[in-house]
Point group: C2
Chain length 277, copies 2
């Protein structure tokens, strides 16, 4: 999917919502736990309930890996299910990988070929040769951690470079913007850091940003749009726990849908306010 195709998808669905499939076996409603594959059954119901309101899904690999081989099967089934259900969706492997070249090539093969994800999240710490094997896959995206949503993000991301006067996350944004095009590179910027978005847009005016932290982590959608939205929207805003665990009971999918509808409607309003619809 190109940058333009992603924007068109956002216009079509009137939404820039990404639903995080952080499916924790311990939080799945009781009535699903007796099924053969509770994680898949949960995801299937969430996808059925939310796919019309969202443009992307983002399974967090940790949740699947914690179950060993069985978790990877649930992930594969989830991916197949989503792709059979709809073409109008952008699929992100939230893996936060980053390794030397020959290893990165394998990760790229895993996520882009074995699983057919559109994008994968990557850590920038090890530099260009850890990202370039992902960039070699045509039509696929690398989503680089820049300014993350967690409390300790500043431990290293705020360090200021002596020569350029830029913070580490600003250096990451700027340097990596030269490694590929806006059809290939996206950045993670936490919603809890909305005040930084103005400055970030000066460095990367045209790139898409994947913004986690709305909902459970406390970020504000309106603030994110105010400072981060550009002329092609330029935002995918993720909500995980706030949607998928809206209810712990048998009505979990129905409640998830309600939460997705609320976010989608707020997003539609924001897109309209910015004359993007």
């Amino acid at each position: 999917m190109t940058h333009n195709q992603l924007f068109e998808l956002i216009r079509k669905k009137r939404s820039f919502l990404c639903v995080g499939l952080d499916t924790d076996i311990n939080k799945i409603p009781e009535h699903l736990k007796t099924t053969d594959d509770p994680v898949f059954e949960f995801n299937k119901a969430i996808v059925d309930a939310t796919h019309e309101r969202s443009v992307a899904y983002k399974p967090n690999l940790a949740f699947y890996e914690s179950l060993g081989a069985r978790g990877w099967e649930s992930l594969a089934k989830t991916m197949n299910y989503i792709q059979q259900k709809t073409n109008d969706i952008f699929l992100i492997a939230d893996a936060k990988r980053g390794d030397i070249g020959n290893t990165s090539s394998l990760y790229a093969r895993t996520f882009f070929e074995t699983f057919n994800f559109d994008a994968v999240t990557l850590s920038p710490y090890m530099g260009l040769d850890t990202v370039s094997p992902f960039l070699a896959h045509e039509g696929k995206w690398s989503i680089i951690l820049a300014l993350t949503s967690n409390k300790s993000a500043g431990d290293f991301q705020y360090l200021t470079d002596k020569i350029t006067g830029k913070k580490l996350y600003e250096t990451v944004l700027e340097k990596i913007s030269h490694w590929g095009t806006t059809d290939q590179i996206m950045y993670v910027v936490g919603a809890t850091k909305a005040e930084a978005l103005q400055g970030i847009r000066k460095i990367v005016p045209n790139h898409f940003l994947l913004v986690p932290g709305v909902g459970a982590q406390g970020g504000s959608l309106a603030e994110v749009a105010k400072y981060g939205m550009n002329s092609r929207c330029g935002l995918l805003v993720n909500s995980s726990r706030g949607i998928i665990y809206a209810s712990g009971g048998e009505d979990f999918a129905e409640q998830a849908q309600k939460k997705a509808v609320v976010l989608q409607q707020e997003m539609q309003q924001l897109l309209e306010n910015n004359n993007l619809l």
Copy 2:
């Protein structure tokens, strides 16, 4: 395993060799490919051939993930096999993870509980709260990327902080040394960066360092020991491709053993030269 126990293991085996199980399905000798689980059969033979000469094994998760659920089964079988064969071994999940707290907790559970690894490699980019869930597991280690062995390591790791005058990797070393003890924290320092080891030892004189990059990547064992060895050895030197792919034929295990013996003997000499045996 504590810092002292790891040192005693090194003395007992007269080796600080870590064998990287970067088992690539495409590089496995032909005669194993018809078995039920070629990756496991390959690892089993490598372990049989090298366990007396090495103190650690380090499966790189990328190689297993690239095979999906089947790869995770091969990894689980490999881990069980090693642990049944010997207690005298330190097991490292080379995963280079790093994510927000609730996700890191899951990764910690996966590697320390589901798989019973002693240690896991982590990326420092997201800061303390991404590392602390790993530190909460008693007797387990977090191995943090500091100065990596790849060509582009300097893209971000060499940035110099305006206030402290320290490079990013030096800041990582120093700051994270306060997050836990030398029984919990280890760092990755590439063998290809041996000249930096002197400076690194001024910042973290007592920590163990996991040193990849000897062999295929071109680092020198003698240089690493010269600048990096401390009074408790303080080094685990990894070789992956140089050992496990020493031969692509039916004699692969025998040739791997020969390479491991050469490295172990050089290590024994270095330990003796430093009066550690």
